[in-house]
């Protein structure tokens, strides 16, 4: 156990806001030690320097999700970030703090999260157990490995950081957003739940609207990997009875990828594209490709994997 303390003078440059005054930057100087969390720094500013500074914070141990904000541009929980770490990472003792992006500002670092909560409610975030179970006649079971899998995604603390940073949320009103997908998948995949059909209807179309940029994975303070939940939700498309055109297209695309892999162990985009969008849809884009001078590459045939039988074995999971 080697606790090495150190101290540092820092300047916190906080982007403040009030409806009356709009935005302004304000600087606060303070001394921090090795263990000072941003929530503690903010608390000290409020208690010792400027009581008017407004921010949310509660548990200071990264389980309540109150203190989401941008620190040096990174969407983070203030409590889970140490001041000295940020100063070192960016090589400067001047650190900026801003409210989360995307959400409407309310005051200083406080933003309006109602829109976020609405997203969460949309996915019916609760278990719908079997009637016999609810009445207490039957005991449910859950395999420990399933518990581990679900718990990973159930740890969302509703902090809003992933939504604030998600590009698809900003561009596509039909996309539920990363947090809601993690929550949705946690119930979709729970074998104790009974409304799987309905959940697929809510989740699948939206799942195909994620762009896999891994921003949510990166910013999630609980490491719940919303994007992984979205990927796993897409796998349910096969089971869905009704599919929107976005889901259908997506499904064709992934099937084309699978087929290409089985056939050659490699992925031939031109062919995949053709099977996803059909000849008519593709022709137009091939014209653009032609104009860009790329079409010559489309005609190159990559050699398949020699040991294709091994690849097929991996893909099929059949090792007999």
């Amino acid at each position: 156990m080697s606790l090495q303390n150190e101290e540092m003078d820092v300047v916190l440059k906080i982007k403040r806001y009030s409806p009356e005054k709009g935005y302004w930057w304000q600087e606060y100087k303070l001394k921090v030690d090795r263990f000072t969390q941003f929530t503690e720094a903010l608390r000290r500013i409020k208690s010792e320097q400027d009581p008017t500074l407004a921010y949310r914070a509660s548990c200071h141990m990264a389980v309540c999700g109150s203190c989401g904000m941008k620190i040096n541009g990174e969407p983070r929980l203030a409590c889970k970030t140490l001041v000295i770490d940020m100063a070192k990472k960016y090589g400067s003792n001047v650190i900026t703090i801003e409210p989360m992006d995307y959400f409407k500002p309310v005051k200083d670092l406080i933003v309006d999260l109602d829109e976020f909560y609405q997203r969460m409610y949309k996915v019916k975030p609760r278990l719908y157990p079997h009637k016999e179970v609810l009445e207490g006649n039957v005991e449910q079971r859950l395999k420990p490995e399933d518990q581990r899998e679900l718990w990973k995604f159930a740890q969302c603390i509703w902090c809003g950081l992933c939504v604030s940073a998600c590009p698809s949320v900003k561009m596509d009103p039909e996309f539920l957003g990363p947090a809601a997908h993690a929550k949705g998948y946690r119930f979709l995949a729970d074998p104790r739940d009974t409304i799987t059909e309905e959940r697929m209807k809510i989740l699948i179309d939206s799942a195909w609207r994620c762009t896999y940029c891994y921003m949510c994975y990166n910013v999630c303070p609980r490491d719940i990997e919303p994007v992984t939940a979205i990927k796993k939700t897409r796998a349910y498309t096969r089971l869905a009875k009704e599919k929107t055109s976005v889901a259908q297209t997506g499904e064709k695309h992934i099937e084309a990828i699978f087929n290409s892999l089985v056939e050659s162990g490699k992925l031939e985009e031109a062919k995949v594209y053709l099977s996803t969008y059909g000849l008519l849809g593709s022709i137009k884009d091939f014209i653009y490709l032609f104009q860009s001078g790329k079409v010559k590459y489309a005609l190159v045939k990559e050699k398949p994997v020699e040991n294709i039988s091994e690849v097929r074995k991996i893909l099929s999971g059949d090792n007999k």
Binding site: V133, V138, R141, R192
Partner: protein
């Protein structure tokens, strides 16, 4: 002989009584079972169950009659199975059919020796 029968056989061989024969378990009504279980008892020493997964994974639950914490005994326990969980009188081992007999015999001896 079926896998299940071989397990029952093993239990009988070490002197266990089967108190409840194989039954299926699932997460909830209307879901296919993910495994099956059998309950046993060995004298006044210990009892428990065998939990057998559809995929073949085999778990052994040992509940000791005498009061102690299995967690404190883990270091001295010489079982072939993998210890999955130990709390109070409850001990879970991940087994395979080849080791089951030997491990149960060992536990029987171990618990008898504690009694002395």
């Amino acid at each position: 002989m079926s896998y299940e029968d071989r397990i029952s056989d093993t239990l009988t061989k070490i002197g266990a009584t089967i108190t409840r024969g194989w039954y299926s378990v699932s997460e909830r009504p209307e879901r296919p079972p993910f495994g099956k279980e059998l309950e046993y008892k060995v004298d006044e020493l210990f009892w428990g169950k065998i939990h057998l997964r559809n995929e073949g994974d085999l778990y052994l639950l040992v509940i000791s009659k005498d009061i102690f914490n299995w967690k404190d005994k883990i270091s001295q326990l010489k079982v072939k199975g993998e210890i999955e969980d130990a709390a109070g009188g409850l001990l879970w081992l991940k087994e395979n059919l080849d080791n089951l007999e030997e491990d149960m015999k060992y536990i029987k001896e171990y618990l008898s020796s504690l009694k002395k």
